[in-house]
């Protein structure tokens, strides 16, 4: 099927445990976020994400999970506390092998540019030579199954394909850290399941740390090595759950007892979170 070209990197730790190093890829330390209108979006939030983890931020709307992701992306600054990327307080100071890319809620493609030009944008902005950029873009498009669609305009693609193009744009930068903000939320269930599977394969095949925001319990359990359950008003971490499951997850995993049990557990945690928030 799609993404079949990926060869599993044998250098990767084989166990389900994340390859935690001394310095986490991402660290949120005592983060506070209060908006001028008084909304307390995040309260004393602490979270460390290690190299090679696939962490989902799961919670009801208004729990600040997207705000937290924006801080991880450097698009928003906390009111208090700090974010560290690879141990550094400044995204500009990161070194080779410390690259971050983000995939947004919508595909966010430039409608006037062809798919390949869209995917090459970050490389163009960074001044990567045309030939190298084209090769990397083609490889990324091949990886997401859009190899022959580089020359079409985004409006000619389906929603799922647009999302794939958006992921290819992120992959072309060869990121080590991938931030994803409910990327498949707007897609139908079939497309979403397929993209989830492909994403999971991709993550296994590469030295990639993923932070994935979602409000779907099933998606979080299927994808993640770890799920961070967040509560609303003010946004905070309620539970930090390690997901047990095989490395290779296929459709059979979705119907396994382990999967269903873990979904039920998260569902209870979320229900408590909503009850706490006074719903």
């Amino acid at each position: 099927m799609l993404m079949h070209t990926i060869a599993v990197d044998t250098a990767r730790p084989a166990s389900g445990a994340p390859a935690n190093e001394a310095i986490p890829v991402l660290l949120a330390n005592q983060i506070e976020k209060t908006y001028p209108n008084g909304t307390h979006a995040l309260q004393r939030l602490k979270l460390a994400i290690g190299r090679g983890e696939f962490v989902s931020l799961l919670g009801p709307s208004g729990c600040g999970k997207s705000t937290l992701l924006k801080m991880f992306a450097g698009l928003e600054a906390p009111s208090a506390g700090h974010v560290r990327w690879w141990g550094k307080g400044d995204l500009e100071a990161t070194e080779a092998g410390q690259r971050m890319a983000m995939v947004f809620q919508e595909a966010t493609l430039m409608p006037w540019a062809k798919v390949a030009d869209n995917a090459r944008l970050p490389l163009d902005l960074a001044g990567v030579p045309k030939a190298e950029g084209n090769a990397r873009v083609q490889a990324a498009l091949d990886l997401v199954g859009l190899g022959s669609f580089g020359g079409v305009y985004p409006r000619e693609l389906s929603g799922g394909m647009q999302m794939r193009a958006s992921i290819a744009r992120a992959l072309a930068t060869q990121p080590n850290l991938l931030l994803m903000d409910e990327p498949f939320g707007a897609l139908d269930e079939f497309t979403r399941n397929r993209l989830d599977s492909d994403l999971r394969d991709l993550w296994r095949a590469r030295d990639l740390t993923v932070v994935f925001v979602t409000h779907s319990i099933y998606e979080a359990v299927f994808l993640s090595s770890r799920v961070v359950v967040m509560g609303a008003r003010p946004g905070r971490v309620l539970a930090d759950v390690t997901i047990e499951g095989p490395q290779v997850r296929d459709e059979a995993f979705r119907t396994s007892a382990a999967f269903i049990e873990q979904c039920a557990q998260l569902s209870r945690l979320l229900a408590e979170a909503n009850a706490d928030a006074g719903h």
Partner: protein, 268 residues
């Protein structure tokens, strides 16, 4: 419905777009001709379409000379409005302070009737062509400014975040994001401004009332009115209307050519 063969032809959108209005025009012209002849309307009140056509041929050299003069003013002022309007728009979007302090004056330009300002400009500027061009530019510039400002500000916030995330410079963001985002709005402004430039040129000529070799179509209309040469008046009017339609079509084609491959407004 009754004739099955006519359906596919009428269903063709190209036929609908060109043939349908053409047919309406021909019917109206025929009706006009018929009514004038049947009711024996004198030519000095309402000339028949045929009379107008004959005048267009007999007075052709004079009328086309006048058309060239009006077209010159129209194109000069249109070009000036585009250049100055775009510069103003880029200035406005640099900061809210600049926009807040200058935009009211742009509106002032827009709401002051050109007929009221034209006499002053014609007194101040001795070169007639320049004076008329300034008047017409004043009329045409506002839609360019306001549409371009709107376009430069109407950037998808997600794309703006993407550019920030990739540390795009101000210049990269302008060239790769703001300008392409603004193009559909800009072409909308262009379409309105092209018609306004023509109107501005004609109105300014009316006020100036310049005769001699540099006389435009408005002057021909004035003269024809004084001489009760109504067929010539209609012929000049016809040329102005035709110019307006052609300008509009030209702008529409330009927009289609530039945006057709990606923007929704130019699909289908």
């Amino acid at each position: 419905m009754m004739d099955k063969h006519s359906q596919p032809l009428l269903a063709d959108p190209r036929v609908q777009r060109i043939a349908a209005p053409l047919l309406v025009g021909l019917v109206l012209l025929g009706l006009w001709q018929f009514l004038c002849v049947a009711l024996k309307v004198p030519t000095y009140l309402v000339p028949t379409p045929l009379d107008i056509g004959r005048t267009l041929v007999s007075d052709g050299p004079m009328l086309f000379g006048a058309l060239v003069v009006t077209l010159k003013i129209t194109f000069l002022s249109f070009a000036l409005a585009v250049v100055l309007g775009v510069i103003a728009a880029f200035l406005f979007v640099q900061s809210r302070v600049i926009e807040a302090s200058l935009f009211p004056y742009a509106i002032l330009l827009q709401v002051t009737p050109v007929v009221a300002v034209a006499p002053l400009i014609i007194i101040w500027v001795s070169n007639t062509t320049l004076a008329l061009t300034i008047c017409a530019t004043l009329v045409a510039i506002f839609p360019i400014i306001s549409n371009t400002v709107l376009g430069l500000r109407s950037v998808n916030p997600g794309l703006l975040n993407l550019f920030r995330l990739n540390r795009a410079s101000r210049w990269q963001t302008l060239v790769r994001l703001r300008i392409p985002s603004a193009l559909p709005y800009f072409f909308g402004g262009l379409r309105i401004a092209s018609g306004l430039a023509l109107i501005g040129a004609v109105v300014a000529e009316f006020v100036a009332g310049t005769g001699g070799t540099g006389a435009g179509l408005a002057y021909q209309i004035l003269q024809a009115g004084f001489q009760l040469n109504i067929p010539r008046l209609f012929a000049a009017l016809f040329l102005i209307a035709l110019t307006g339609v052609l300008l509009f079509s030209l702008m529409a084609a330009l927009a289609r050519f530039s945006l057709g491959h990606w923007h929704e407004s130019e699909q289908g």
